[in-house]
């Protein structure tokens, strides 16, 4: 059965398999209660990790040292910008989304400017910019929870037969990202730069333009994510994006993208995001305490990355 063997040779299959296992474990524990609900909830929550995970994937694929650590602060600020712009009015929803997107784009551009103009390594540049963004957010949002317009919040929670609308949006976005990565000149350029930046430059690829575009893309996706999160959780807050620092990187790695750059995997982002969300669901159904839950989450992520990363980085 060559096609079956081929399926299991793809790096992303393992993340879906992991998601399936933790879901089954949770379902067995509850005796089958809430199996469908768990999936619906997982689909809704996983979308947010998918959105920023895709941006992070493109950045990490640019090669060693490239990472966007400003995503949590970006999400926080964009959520506040979106909610303030919408001002609780349905007529301003589109404008608010646009404002969040613009906020993310500006953050992405600023990150790239720090990296390029001041020659700061991306890890430091994006980390320090996140402090600036965070301070801006605290000043701008005054630490208050700002409510979304009701229809935006309702929209973010809409489901069709148990499939949340945001899940569909996430799938559509992943398809676009896959096409961009595999079928377009932009994606090829990112993959080439990640393998060998000097060779990419000498092969005529506009390396700096591609890097600019990639950090901007990551920023923009962070901005959109902020607006959607604020809608889904019915309010913006400074720490709304906190968990996406670890999870955006974790889903990239668990999903089969090479940390060394030059090799990316889009379906794996979805699989890994579902895995992370369902893992949390499983631990919650087991009733473990918050401290133990964090400990186990950390250990399992380390374990999965070691297991999944072992053979891939061996080449």
């Amino acid at each position: 059965m060559p096609s079956f063997a081929k399926l299991f040779a793809t790096p992303w299959i393992w993340s879906f398999l992991g998601a399936l296992i933790v879901w089954l474990a949770a379902v067995i524990f509850t005796g089958g209660h809430g199996a469908g609900g768990m999936i619906t909830a997982a689909l809704s929550l996983a979308v947010f990790t998918v959105i920023v995970g895709l941006g992070q994937m493109f950045v990490i694929t640019l090669g060693p040292g490239n990472v966007d650590l400003s995503l949590p602060a970006n999400i926080g600020l964009a959520s506040a910008v979106a909610m303030k712009t919408m001002d609780g009015q349905d007529s301003l929803i589109a404008l608010g989304l646009l404002a969040a997107l613009a906020c993310g784009v500006v953050i992405g551009l600023a990150n790239y400017a720090l990296i390029r103009v001041l020659r700061i390594p991306p890890i430091i540049a994006t980390l320090s910019s996140s402090f600036i963004i965070l301070s801006t957010d605290i000043h701008y949002g005054r630490g208050l929870q700002i409510k979304p317009p009701d229809s935006f919040a309702d929209f973010a929670n809409v489901q069709f037969f148990g499939v949340p609308i945001l899940g569909l949006f996430g799938v559509a976005l992943a398809v676009v990202a896959w096409a961009g990565l595999q079928k377009m000149v932009y994606g090829r350029s990112v993959l080439a730069i990640g393998q060998n930046m000097r060779a990419a430059k000498l092969a005529g690829i506009p390396v700096e333009r591609v890097r600019l575009l990639t950090y901007t893309l990551s920023g923009a996706l962070g901005g959109i994510n902020g607006a959607l999160l604020a809608g889904y959780f019915r309010g913006a807050s400074v720490d709304i994006g906190n968990e996406y620092l670890l999870s955006s990187i974790a889903v990239v790695v668990i999903g089969g993208t090479s940390v060394a750059g030059g090799k990316a995997n889009v379906p794996g982002i979805w699989g890994a995001s579902l895995f992370l969300v369902l893992l949390l669901t499983m631990l919650n159904t087991f009733g473990v305490s918050a401290g133990l839950r964090l400990l186990l989450t950390g250990l399992i992520i380390v374990g999965v990355i070691t297991a999944a990363g072992g053979h891939k980085t061996g080449r």
Binding site: K183, V185, A192, Q195, N196, A199, L202, A203, G204
Partner: protein, 488 residues
């Protein structure tokens, strides 16, 4: 001064191959007590390989090494040091994160223990003072902070420090290449003093003047063999050049000269700029050679031209799209995670689009076309690029450039590690492509290849120092221009 009866180091029938390249082809070489040997030859003649074997950092495929008449079966760098053979390497071997004194300390077992740091500092300071008076280097300076010339001075001074280990022979591989004239003078004087004091030296240099005045005996290598071995006093610069270059180039290739002054200039480097007093011009359909010793600015000129095609650069004009064929495949060329086809198509993606997407069929067609035209030996272009041999990887890089829309092709010594058959194929291809109006700028370290060029620019120290037309081209003229006039 030399005593021919007593050889302190003797190599017999030494052979060494790197893949298909025969670096040493049966070399006999002896160093006598109290003599300085000048070792000269082209890049790739085998000088550095021979010296690495003598110093114990490389091992021969066959042949014997004898020190003070005793055959050595297990010859390593530790053993070499213990028997008094030291080498100042061309690639500097100091640890950049350590101080000058610490670098000295790690090379002497006797400087272990308490007070070693102080003794190491004193030792290296004394050696520096003796060789390079007024050197301005403190033993506490971190090596990474020193200029390249100062690092070279430390490297040399360290080789001449004495503790418990004996010192009979110091090998100096191009020690003056990064020294200015005055320090080089100090070093050459010191070599003479050391020889008078009983230490033998081997001096490798491309500056023939310093070889002739410093050495007792000069050994000339060519193509992995010793081709001359004579007392320095019997030699002249001209005779050395002739020995290094050998016969004239073989029968001239008759270039079907369709290239006249009527063709437009597509790439130009103005005279008097960063690349020297002589300018460079390349017309449509010309094949331009860049010659001279390796690393004398040819690659930099190509990269500068590459960048000038995309952004304005002072003193340079490039008219048309450019593509570069890398010589250093792993660093500058190959995308190791990709298939052969993707490695070929990367330069042409914009032209392979259908709408916003790369058309898979067009991409495959391009790769197949060029596999046939340039003869890449593979049955499946979707195989990883690393499944190809080095020569075939290089063909894929040629295909990448030639398949592109570029009218100007820059080639950075692209025939390294390529077998003869492939080379002849590629020469033909270049000639046909040039006739169709493409322009080639071709840096090569192989003099024979320059015969394919309409015009050759010779480089020295980052500058163009000579222009030779195809009909005036001889290896001797190229060598003559490649070497500095100092002291001749």
């Amino acid at each position: 001064m030399s005593d021919p009866l007593r050889s302190i180091a003797k190599l017999d029938g030494v052979k060494r191959s790197f893949g298909a390249v025969r670096a040493l082809d049966g070399v006999d070489f002896a160093v006598h007590a109290k003599e300085c040997i000048g070792l000269v030859g082209h890049n790739g003649a085998g000088k550095s390989t021979l010296m690495s074997i003598l110093a114990g950092t490389g091992s021969p495929d066959s042949g014997t090494i004898a020190i003070n008449g005793a055959a050595q079966s297990d010859w390593t760098i530790q053993r070499a040091r213990a028997l008094g053979v030291r080498c100042v390497f061309q690639e500097l071997s100091l640890s950049p994160n350590l101080s000058v004194a610490e670098n000295t300390r790690v090379s002497h077992g006797a400087l272990n223990g308490w007070g070693g740091a102080k003794r190491a500092a004193d030792l290296i300071r004394a050696s520096l003072d003796a060789i390079f008076p007024g050197h301005g280097i403190s033993p506490q300076d971190i090596v990474g902070d020193l200029a390249i010339g100062q690092r070279q001075m430390v490297e040399v001074a360290r080789a001449f420090t004495l503790t418990d280990d004996p010192l009979h022979l110091v090998i100096l591989d191009e020690p003056t290449s990064s020294l200015d004239a005055q320090t080089a003078r100090q070093l050459l004087d010191h070599i003479r003093r050391a020889v008078a004091g009983g230490i033998s030296c081997i001096l490798i240099s491309h500056i023939l003047g310093e070889i002739l005045e410093t050495s007792d005996r000069v050994v000339v290598m060519r193509d992995g063999k010793v081709v001359a071995d004579e007392p320095a006093r019997d030699l002249t610069r001209a005779r050395l050049v002739a020995a290094m270059g050998g016969a004239r180039l073989h029968a001239k290739t008759t270039r079907s000269d369709g290239v006249g002054a009527s063709q437009p200039v597509v790439a130009q480097v103005q005279a008097g700029g960063a690349h020297g007093a002589i300018g460079l011009q390349a017309r449509r359909g010309e094949v331009i050679g860049l010659a001279g010793l390796a690393g004398h600015g040819q690659t930099k000129l190509l990269i500068d031209l590459f960048e000038a095609a995309n952004a304005r650069r002072k003193g340079m004009t490039v008219d048309g799209a450019v593509a570069l064929v890398a010589g250093d495949r792993q660093t500058d060329g190959i995308f190791p995670l990709w298939s052969i086809a993707m490695n070929i198509s990367i330069r042409s993606l914009a032209a392979l689009r259908r709408g916003a997407f790369i058309a898979a069929d067009k991409e495959a067609d391009l790769a197949v076309t060029w596999r046939e035209r340039i003869g890449i030996r593979t049955d499946n272009l979707d195989n990883n690029i690393l499944s190809l041999s080095g020569g075939n990887q290089q063909k894929a890089l040629f295909a990448r450039a030639l398949a592109s829309d570029a009218q100007i092709i820059l080639m950075d010594d692209p025939m390294r590690g390529v077998d003869l058959g492939t080379k002849l194929d590629v020469y033909d291809l270049i000639r046909t492509q040039a006739q169709q109006g493409r322009t080639f700028l071709w840096y090569t370290t192989e003099t024979d290849e320059l015969d394919n060029c309409d015009r050759v620019y010779v480089f020295r120290n980052g500058q163009i120092v000579a222009v030779l037309d195809h009909d005036d081209l001889t290896e001797e003229k190229i060598i003559q221009s490649s070497f500095a006039e100092v002291g001749a």
